[in-house]
């Protein structure tokens, strides 16, 4: 083989050892999506073969040599109806099938564990409820539904895990979510697929699927000390949220204990279910989200809390089931007289905490 150029040789070796034609199926939804995919491939192949066969056989049968004079035919309503109705039927099947999968991908099950993801130029920051922070990697346990709550700090990004067949855009200013249940342990690609500026192609990472034991070990080994809810609790205190949002009878803001998941009536008369997205809106854009019976005195926190900070607050409020913790926060704040002054930089401190500590 000495006369084969090394470049070509290297290429051939690579071809033989590193050639992929289909991505791994590593999530619960992947086989379902692939079933539809292969159905479509099949239909396409049949259609394409049909077209090629027709064109080829007509070309051979009716070439000028064999068939010097053409027979003029107007058309055939029956035939035309056939190739209108059959494709239409097939397309409608694909539509319904596709829609079922679409809703499945974007409807997380109730028992999913939540992980928060912030996209920014050009990295993915992952916040685990346990307080673990990651950059450009995501560790998840196998066989456990995981819901991702995504947001972008700047431009559109898209969180894509081909092996799981899921993808969702991270949008500035709004939460989106997607879920998956990994079925195979291993390391998979994580891509940003929405063009997001200069280093778009560097905004990649890996998804590590671990056995529950390994995952527990990883959690323990990479914790930053505080859980995300605890970070949120601190932020809650340092921004003096509890000055109004407390359980005192004369509180100026609504009591937030158990507010997550409840239904609220706003001053505009609208009824909303309190979810992650609503909490974010209420923190950053309070004027439009005033609970009925309260005056619109809450200032906006737009630009003062990083997206990671908002995630921490959301996580804190989500887990706020008894006012015991709130009371405790209140006491902590009262112990710190200059907490008020620290309010603004607190968000930034938290953002700094968002940096990975692995």
């Amino acid at each position: 083989m000495s006369h084969i150029s090394p470049v070509l040789w290297q290429f051939l070796v690579k071809w033989l050892t590193n050639f992929q034609l289909f991505p791994p199926e590593a999530s619960k939804i992947a086989p379902q999506m692939d079933a539809l995919y292969f159905f479509m491939v099949l239909v396409s192949l049949v259609g394409l073969t049909l077209v090629i066969l027709l064109v080829l056989s007509f070309s051979l049968l009716y070439s000028k040599k064999r068939h010097p004079v053409a027979t003029q035919i107007e058309g055939s309503t029956l035939l035309e109806a056939t190739w209108t109705i059959i494709p239409l039927g097939l397309f409608l099947v694909m539509f319904v099938w596709g829609a079922l999968i679409y809703f499945r991908v974007y409807t997380p099950p109730a028992n999913a564990m939540n992980i928060y993801v912030v996209g920014k130029q050009w990295m993915w920051k992952v916040e685990h409820p346990g307080g673990q922070h990651e950059i450009n990697s995501l560790h998840v346990p196998v066989n456990q539904p995981v819901q991702l709550t995504l947001i972008s700090q700047d431009v559109f990004h898209s969180f894509s895990i081909p092996a799981f067949r899921v993808k969702r855009e991270a949008i500035p200013g709004r939460y989106t979510s997607v879920w998956f249940e990994a079925t195979e342990t291993g390391t998979y690609h994580l891509f940003c697929t929405q063009y997001c500026g200069t280093n778009h192609s560097q905004m990649i990472g890996e998804v590590v699927v671990m056995t529950p034991d390994d995952y527990r070990k990883w959690l323990a080994g990479s914790t930053s000390g505080n859980s995300l809810a605890q970070d949120g609790e601190r932020l809650f205190a340092s921004l003096s949220c509890n000055a109004c949002h407390n359980t005192r009878p004369d509180a100026r803001g609504p009591n937030l204990v158990g507010v997550y998941g409840s239904k609220l009536t706003l001053t505009s008369g609208q009824t909303v279910t309190v979810d992650d997205a609503y909490l974010r809106q209420a923190i950053l854009d309070p004027a439009q989200n005033i609970t009925q019976g309260y005056t619109p005195i809450m200032p906006t926190y737009q630009g003062q809390i990083s997206e990671e900070g908002v995630f921490a607050l959301v996580e804190y409020l989500k887990n706020l089931h008894s006012d015991y913790r709130l009371q405790q926060t209140l006491n902590t704040t009262e112990l710190l007289p200059e907490a008020e002054g620290k309010a603004a930089p607190a968000g930034k401190t938290n953002a700094a905490q968002g940096e990975v500590k692995q």
Partner: protein, 555 residues
């Protein structure tokens, strides 16, 4: 007449190109720059879009060269981003949108409807000047440092996070948009008001129908793009915040308005190509197009439905899931007329008398590639599979199958088909057949691997990629070089044929269209006297009787 060709050329020893024709009537640069003649304007357009095609093609070559290796080594990431952005902008707005309509359509529509010119010749010329101004602005953008937003101008990236020449690109596209509006407007008016006596709607060649449908899209869709780009430019210059989430705007609103034009734009690009294929398939199988009415109405159906499917570009972008359902359903409906067309063309061959000249080879290529392109569109139109496949190389391959495999094949088919009419000379047949085959092979080698890459999950617009994708990328780049040869050949031999090609005579293909019944190249006023249409389109029996009459009168 040989048994394998329908080409009937006049006796080359005595044949002459008519002394008076639209090319020779007036001389001098000014007679071209101030012309009102649709055929001259079409020629100007042909030259300018070819120029931009090769710029865009060179940029495509750079992209493929960079993707030969997984690292971003030929270009830095930001250079790569500028290259693919300019490739997209130039190919979409300066080649594909004006390709068939502004050149072949401009040349043929008055001829096909039996008119002396388009209804508004000055507007037609203005449209070309706008195109040139827009082109100069685009070139200025490139020279001044390029732009790296991607041709889709996604906000807030394009408005707040980049400091390249977004404003000049936006304005270039704005101006190019008005060029396209005026072309479309002119076509609609001409088709409605300038048909010759006897030319009823259902005697119009299908090329006219499909250009009519595309013109509707141009006239109604382009203004929305124009106002959207104005808003983007204002957002960058005075920070007004309609698309900026930080100021309370909604970036998805931009997506809605942008795709309201840019999805129909896909049909603006492909519909005129479909018209070319109808003409070519009919001519080279000597048969009326199978189910003329169905093909005609399917063009209009595509135009109407095409307006209401735009949000299928945004399925994972955070539109409401219910809206996604509606748009997905409409997308499935708009796929049906394309399927109808493909089968109607295939059955046009049935019991025909087929010959295989270059335009027909390109048409066969179109039918195969467009079938693949169309079917993979359904993959993306179905909400479920769209999640996995969108924003990957699958979508890149899909729209290149439609745009390059479809529209460019059709464009080349049309250029070869009408070349004798346009210039009075034939192109060299053998080498052009070779070019058609090379293009087809090169195309498949370039873009088919990209479907697999997309399924594997390789994201689009990546300057660097994981090494396991390299093999397929090498195939793709290799194919691109073959494709490049396939595109260079025509420009060489077509230029050659301008001087050395065989004299074509009036009707080398023995085709039935009105344009073939007059001299080639045509007179400035097209018809010595306004024709009267007394037969259906694609009536080969009429043509035969006509020829017998001529023979009799000469004899």
């Amino acid at each position: 007449m040989s048994a394998t060709t329908i080409v009937s050329l006049p006796d080359q020893s005595t044949a002459r190109i008519p002394k008076v024709n639209f090319l020779t009537k007036e001389n001098g640069l000014l007679s071209w720059l101030l012309t009102g003649d649709h055929k001259r304007i079409a020629t100007l357009y042909l030259i300018s879009i070819t120029f931009f095609f090769f710029i865009g093609g060179a940029l495509a070559g750079l992209i493929r060269l960079e993707l030969l290796t997984p690292q971003s080594d030929l270009m830095a990431a930001d250079t790569y981003n500028k290259v693919f952005t300019m490739h997209g902008v130039i190919m979409v707005f300066f080649f594909l949108v004006p390709s068939v309509p502004a050149t072949i359509g401009n040349f043929l529509i008055p001829l096909m409807v039996g008119a002396k010119d388009l209804a508004l010749p000055k507007i037609n010329l203005l449209s070309w000047y706008l195109y040139v101004i827009a082109g100069i602005m685009a070139i200025y953008t490139m020279v001044a440092g390029g732009v790296d937003t991607g041709w889709t101008f996604t906000t807030p990236l394009s408005t707040h996070y980049l400091n390249t020449n977004v404003v000049s690109t936006g304005l270039a596209i704005f101006v190019a948009g008005f060029s396209s509006i005026f072309t479309g407007l002119n076509f609609i008016v001409t088709i409605h008001k300038m048909r010759c006596p006897g030319m009823t709607w259902f005697r119009l060649p299908l090329f006219v129908w499909s250009n009519y449908a595309a013109s509707i899209l141009m006239v109604l869709g382009t203004p929305v793009l124009a106002i959207t780009l104005v808003l983007v430019v204002l957002e960058r210059t005075v920070h007004i915040g309609v698309f900026d989430p930080a100021l309370g705007g909604d970036p998805l609103l931009f997506q809605h308005l942008f795709w309201f034009y840019s999805h129909p734009a896909v049909y603006i690009m492909i519909l005129p190509g479909m018209g070319v294929i109808s003409e070519v398939v009919s001519t080279f199988s000597r048969k009326r197009v199978f189910g003329y009415t169905a093909v005609a109405f399917s063009s209009v159906a595509i135009a109407v439905f095409g307006f209401f499917v735009w949000a299928h570009h945004m399925f994972i972008m955070g539109i409401s899931n219910y809206a996604a359902l509606v748009f997905s359903l409409l997308t499935m409906l708009v796929a049906v007329p394309s399927a109808i067309k493909i089968f109607n063309w295939a059955f046009t061959l049935y019991k025909g008398s087929i010959t295989f000249e270059t335009p027909m080879l390109y048409a066969f290529g179109f039918m195969g590639l467009f079938t693949i392109g169309g079917m993979t569109g359904v993959f993306l139109g179905a909400t479920g599979t769209d999640i996995h496949l969108t924003e990957t190389y699958f979508i890149v391959a899909h729209f290149h199958f439609v745009m390059v495999g479809g529209m460019l094949m059709a464009f080349l088919s049309g250029i070869h088909f009408w070349w004798p009419k346009w210039t009075g000379r034939m192109y060299p047949e053998k080498i052009s057949q070779l070019a058609a085959v090379v293009t087809f092979i090169g195309f498949n080698l370039t873009f088919f691997p990209q479907f697999i890459l997309g399924t594997l999950g390789m994201p689009r617009r990546y300057a660097a990629y994981p090494p396991e994708f390299q093999v397929l990328n090498v195939f793709s780049s290799a194919g691109a070089s073959v494709l490049g040869v396939g595109y260079l050949l025509p420009i060489l031999y077509l230029t050659w044929s301008l001087k050395y090609g065989a004299i074509a005579g009036d009707n080398p293909w023995q085709a039935t269209g009105l344009e073939w019944q007059i001299q080639s190249p045509p007179l400035t006023e097209n018809f010595p006297e306004i024709p009267i249409m007394d037969h259906e389109a694609y009536d080969y029996e009429w043509l035969e009787r006509q020829q017998q009459k001529e023979v009799a009168s000469v004899g």
